[in-house]
Symmetry: C2
Subunit: 877 residues, 2 copies
């Protein structure tokens, strides 16, 4: 039996093999094939990772055999040998998943060093200090990453020696100091692990590969995946690559660079590098690096070669590249290239300019911007007026643009907790690490004292579209005391500060923020998106203000106007309560008569805001008890107000109590019991449309939507009421007016019987919030308590209320689309659940043939772009 | 364009055309074709009824044309003519639906009479009194049934005249009295309707047919249909038949009879008749009729002919017949025949004896008993001991067997209300009418002072399997005073009485009832059912007592053992609460350790009761807050008991509160959060099975069932716990033991993804209670409040919690069966929702290929028979 191939040499792969080799591995293979200077190596595939988990976290024999074979090949082409004293091969071991997961996975450098090969390295490089520094780093990384020994314990040893030697920087330590440190490290290792530090390089290698595989499942990785919709069963690949050294003196160095500016999109090589350093020094943000332009002076030949190759890479990939490189004694190596993460502004500028440069088409441009990023463009900026009088207390690197204002907290836990309590929070850290991820998500903005534009804080913030200022060395943080100092001023936990992520300015006070304007690249790009997409984008809006906002964001109509929000209004609630407490239909009608003119005004306002755009209005949905007070005190107050006895009102409130209100007397069940409610609402909807037609000439076609339908006869019963009243009003007014009657599909039974429902419904709007609740059988209000356990135990990897569950809920939706079209081929189809603003769900909606999605005003641009992307991907079936 | 045929002459139809002609019309046609003496006529089809509703309650032109054509034909063969003075044709107009709906639909006799034809009738019969009595009856019936004028107003006139003439009975009135009454009736009609009584017979006919069609939708009919699962869109047919008169003197008469005794099943002609009366007098129970055997003396030739024809009818239909006949001046006419309703005992005896007589096969016999009736055989009888000392206070007709004991109420409303308050209720009425139907459903037993064995009370009670004593003339009822008197004793509302529906004895006290025994015909018949059926029948049982009971009723295993019922036990709840209130896993394990031996004992008891039969055990299902008190007082008591502060406990109780507990933290979500609960339960299940194997030699294969699964990974997570512990226990004990792990399918998503779920589930059990809740999106606890409106408005015609909704929920179930079998062809399939005991749902389960149904012990015989019937009908697909 021929074994499956689990290990690939770099020259055996290419960029298209990302799923198998991970992003990093596939790009290393691609660069190899392009003839670029890449240190050679091999990739252990994601399938090997999946197999590792299937085999109960065990590296299979056949995988090990293939690793050794690939290793032998590398030894042959480099002429070096793992474990050789004469010419030792040293390798790096790095994770590389299908999607980039910055900072989440772990890296080991200098693998292959032991007590003997370190001497070989010393002889070979004629640099004892370098050899022992490499060994020290390796022991520390291996112990931390592979064995889980706390990094801090190693740093303590390092600090002790530095103190003893009275030096400040690592670079000031001598070879003999480092030899001493190595000895101490090995003692620590033996103490912690109960055995010696492994001297056999092949053992080191297998342990390291195993560690990468199991790091795929560490809690930080799980959280990151959940935030970024990365399925847990993708697995990660591992790249084993022969080492090159940027820390071999002043003709060596290492850096990261982008082909364009990832913050602004400007077309100029942008990046940082450090002379005489290993890559980890740059990424970790421990030393603040130089801008890459300085390399032109330091190493002009290397710089020229680098710029040329970088430009070729961008042309080859047709996208802005994010590259890691190392210069070993004057020779340039590329260690990685990938499509670079960028801010929303940069993404838009790059996409538009690449089209204008003729590098890509408009359709290709669509795929260059992540719809979720657009959010950040819609985030507030500082009020110019307030900004004028505001005091800049410090300045850092403008790592991720946007404006943020909030209270200072010094740990991820505090930030998260106070965010959950409703506070706006700024996370202030010396530097961030993957452990901080949840605090970073919770924060309005992030401020770090150390690290550069490519530090963890900067990369992650840009990805999330969160404002970030990095490397702000002006501030001194005392995390224990929960303060930071700038000059002689002290800022305490809970104090307000403000950050401008676009300038790097830190303000020691709260500054008002204002809505951003959308124009320039944004406008041009979104116009292209609108030209390309087939799927319409509407908005969920209950007020003229929301409706106007949504139109500014590009909404083409209202997909969901919830009429109950109007009922909660202070002016109306007395009449609403009077209606609920009525004992007879006559009383109820009297109360409804009071509401009629107010509802009519609501709709007039909305129609006027929407001009000629379509408006879908949903009839009253929530259970009536939501409009009544529950606490005895409030009941007593209301009873007095309404001239009822406390007991009487309390009895009514109790009689309306429901065990499971989500599945109670609500939606279309209300007009089944009280047709007069639907009558009043229909009258208001139609009269308002006629008013607007007469006064403004707008040709509104109200789409009246019946919620919570599960059965054709139920729909027909309520529709009959609507049609009767609507036709009556139209006849009374003696005017022509079209209107439509349709239904929400939000009850599984409605989806299952959509062929019947479509006999009466002129349109379907998928209410995927409720449909998700009922299909999963859990209530959104209660699920929070146990969903955490589901994420921890990897049963669910995303929140089905955020991202449509295509497997279960999606099956019902698809079924309903097919059945509905069977009965009524021209049935109008949309979605008004919150999924309408989620890119992957929008793509799904496009693919199954919906006519529109509807989402909150704020998400309209996201949906517009997601719809265009769906069109470009062209998977409609 | 040829019009659809809406009207059929009797000689154009046959018994197979029931759907089109209704039961009555099809059988009139069949009898006509058998050459039996049937007054000729025609049937307006059910399709005409459906069309009538589709056309907005309007009789279509084309239907009217066909009616007139058929009428002309009848005029031709009878030689009589509608409206003719010389030889007037008189007709009856009767409803006849597909399924018999006794007393629900309305009848009009003597149609065709007017001021002129009444004179013709007088001349023709030479009987002025008869002619005017017929006219009087017609006016009264037409006014009441067609025009909705209160019957009472006509009876008042009749009573006035009787009082004036000082006579007691209608029969004592003279022709001139009746002429006077007709005059007064016509004045009343004109006053009520604002126009004269219609004199045009064709107008009378169309109005009458229309009235029958619209009576299909009167509220009583709607209630009856709901109770009897008759769809609203079937419609009713109308039979127009030339009149024959049983009230033309002492050689005339009318009666109803059965080919066998419908109460006992005894093979002897059984029935009642009245000399010189019209049919309505018998059915309405106003005059108490003679047993049919007396006809042998009165009219021996007619009797002989009747018996012969009746026997032929039974042989022809292969079923016990219920016939109506009229003798007009010595000539016998059959007006109706149908398969007769009968008690459960009679049904069994008749079915078994017909097989033994060679009339039908065992398979055919299965269809002769309505599974729902079997219920009545399982109902309690009186304790022999208590019966001995009990005093019979009155005796009536044993109209429907069984024993009942309850408090006396005199109106249907009171009976219903007190039943809903949890009281056992006896409905005592002078006579019942269709308006009383809901009170009759609520009552344990029914006692009427008037009416015979075929009165409304008797027929309906037998159909429902409710104990009934009819025609108990010993009691005098004063409905206004809410009392009845027997001799000088007064019984008031709320007093206890007891009824023996098998003897007709009424007892003036409460008598204890005991469980019935099943043997004889029951045993033989059910054995045949077991031979025939393919579907297995299990039971839902949580205790050894229930399990034993179910085995006596024929259960073949346990399909659902709910482990939480054991947790609520007084002995256990402290440990359960300790478990819930634990702050750490360790504390929780300690509390669970206390529960383990108790759970193990539970399962040992159940396994022992079930001997070698399969047992499906469901893991803990309800949300944990159900085990904690909610009221402050109870919380305070528990806090004291558990050594906690009130505040502390209150906080925990509140933190467990759920907005929608049905969709909350329950089912398999509990072991996802607290694996140790599933561990304890698994250990108890397996240890108990091993114990029983060792001690008793029973080879139990526990089927461990995981509730509320919606996702494969969730199932796998819990299954992994179960398998780990089960294998551990089996290894510890060093014994072989098989077990299975499966899941409930009760969440829509589980059904939608059943192909995935089946990868891990060895069996599916459809939890159709929850599946119905989620598919319809309403909670069973709350739906009661609005479902009434849904019935009133004819949106739902049956309770989907009683009878499986095959359209929606059934679609999910069918889908899950198909998907499950695709992945695992031998997957074991059952249902454990309450639908498992509903005959139509059992048939559905058979048809879609389930292996078993599981229901409460009491319903096991019902399910066994329903399964056999499903097999005979043979629609498995």
């Amino acid at each position: 039996m021929v074994s499956r191939k689990y290990v690939y040499l770099f020259n055996e792969g290419n960029a298209a093999m990302k799923n198998l080799l991970g992003g990093k591995g596939a790009n290393l293979a691609e660069m190899t094939n392009l003839g670029m200077p890449v240190p050679q190596g091999f990739t252990v595939s994601t399938e090997a990772c999946t197999k590792y988990y299937e085999d109960g976290k065990e590296l299979a024999k056949e995988v090990i055999v293939q690793i050794y074979e690939a290793l032998a090949y590398i030894e042959q082409i480099t002429g070096k040998k793992l474990g050789s004293i004469q010419n030792p091969l040293l390798v790096s071991v790095r994770s590389g998943a299908r999607a980039s997961m910055p900072g989440m996975m772990d890296t080991i450098l200098n693998l292959g060093l032991n007590d003997k090969t370190v001497e070989g390295l010393k002889n070979l490089t004629n640099n004892e200090r370098f050899a022992y520094d490499s060994y020290r780093r390796f022991i520390q990384m291996f112990s931390d990453v592979v064995m889980g020994i706390e990094k801090r314990k190693f740093e303590d040893i390092l600090d002790e020696v530095k103190e003893l030697k009275r030096v400040k920087f690592d670079t000031e330590l001598t070879a003999s100091d480092l030899k001493d440190i190595v000895k101490k490290y090995k003692v620590l290792y033996e103490k912690e692990m109960g055995k010696e530090f492994p001297q056999e390089p092949k053992e080191q290698l297998l342990e390291a590969i195993t560690a990468v595989f199991s790091s795929w499942d560490n809690p930080r990785a799980v959280v990151y995946r959940r935030l970024n919709d990365i399925p847990g069963d993708w697995g990660t690949a591992v790249n084993v690559q022969s080492m090159v050294f940027g820390n071999m003196g002043d003709t060596s160095g290492t850096g990261v660079a982008f082909t364009r500016n990832p913050a602004t999109g400007e077309k100029v090589i942008f990046g940082e590098y450090l002379i005489n350093a290993q890559g980890e020094d740059v990424v970790a943000g421990i030393r603040t690096p130089h801008p890459i332009s300085r390399m032109q002076q330091d190493l002009p030949d290397c710089y020229k070669q680098f710029v040329e190759m970088a430009e070729n890479l961008e042309k080859h990939y047709k996208d802005m590249q994010d590259m890691e490189f190392t210069i070993e004694q004057g020779k340039l190596y590329f260690l990685q290239t990938r499509n670079g993460k960028r801010t929303a502004q940069a993404a838009l500028k790059i996409a538009v300019e690449m089209v204008e440069e003729g590098l890509i088409s408009k359709k290709e441009a669509m795929l260059k911007v992540d719809p979720k990023q657009l959010d950040s463009l819609l985030h507030p900026k500082f009020s110019e007026k307030e900004l004028k009088s505001a005091q800049v207390i410090a300045k850092g690197l403008p790592a991720s643009p946007g404006a943020a204002c909030g209270k200072v907290y010094f740990t991820a836990e505090e930030a998260k907790m106070h965010h959950e309590q409703g506070e706006k929070v700024i996370l202030v850290r010396r530097e961030t690490s993957p452990e901080d991820i949840e605090g970073m998500v919770a924060a309005e903005g992030i401020l770090t004292a150390r690290g550069g534009m490519t530090s963890h804080a900067a990369v992650v913030s840009r990805g999330m579209g969160t404002c970030c200022i990095a490397g702000c060395s002006d501030i001194r943080i005392n995390e224990d005391a929960k303060i930071f100092e700038v000059g002689d001023k002290v800022y305490q936990e809970g104090d307000y500060i403000s950050l401008d992520g676009s300038t790097g300015n830190v303000y020691g006070e709260a500054i008002k923020t204002v809505e951003p304007e959308m124009s320039g690249y944004f406008g041009k790009f979104m116009n292209w998106a609108d030209e390309i997409r087939a799927l319409k984008v509407r908005t969920n809006a209950d007020t003229p203000r929301d409706a106007e906002q949504a139109i500014r964001y590009g909404a083409e109509g209202i997909g969901l106007c919830r009429t109950e929000h109007m009922f909660f209004d202070e002016d109306r609630i007395p009449a609403v309560r009077e209606m609920i407490l009525s004992k007879t239909e006559e009383q109820r009608r009297k109360a409804l008569d009071k509401l009629l003119p107010m509802q009519k005004e609501d709709f007039i306002g909305i129609y006027e805001a929407m001009e000629n755009r379509p408006v879908t209005i949903r009839l009253l949905d929530p259970p009536l008890h939501e409009f009544l007070p529950q606490a005895d005190k409030d009941v007593r107050d209301l009873a007095k107000e309404m001239g009822l006895s406390f007991g009487e009102l309390k009895t009514t409130v109790e009689s309306l109590h429901e065990f499971n209100p989500m599945m109670g007397h609500r939606g279309c069940r209300l007009p089944v019991s009280y047709p007069e409610i639907a009558e009043m609402q229909t009258r208001a909807i139609i009269e308002a449309a006629i008013h607007v037609k007469r006064e403004k000439g707008y040709d509104i076609v109200p789409e009246i939507m019946i919620p919570l339908v599960g059965e054709l006869k139920e729909l027909k019963f309520v529709k009959d009421i609507i049609v009767r009243i609507a036709d009556e009003v139209i006849a009374e007014e003696g005017i022509e007016l079209k209107y439509m009657v349709g239904t929400m599909i939000e009850i599984p039974r409605a989806a299952l019987t959509a062929d019947q429902i479509a006999k009466e419904a002129e349109f379907f709007s998928f209410g995927t919030n409720d449909l998700t609740q009922m299909t999963f059988g859990f209530s959104r209000d209660d699920a929070g308590k146990f969903l955490k356990d589901y994420y921890d135990k990897k049963i669910y990897e995303f929140d089905p209320f955020q991202k449509l569950d295509q497997v279960g809920v999606g099956k019902l939706v698809t079924m309903a689309v097919e059945l509905g079209k069977m009965t009524r081929p021209d049935i109008h189809l949309g979605i008004c659940g919150e999924h309408g603003g989620d890119p992957s769900s929008v793509e799904f909606c496009h693919n199954i043939g919906l006519d529109y999605v509807s989402c909150s005003p704020f998400r309209v641009p996201v949906a517009r772009l997601a719809a265009a992307q769906a069109q470009v991907k062209n998977k409609r079936y």
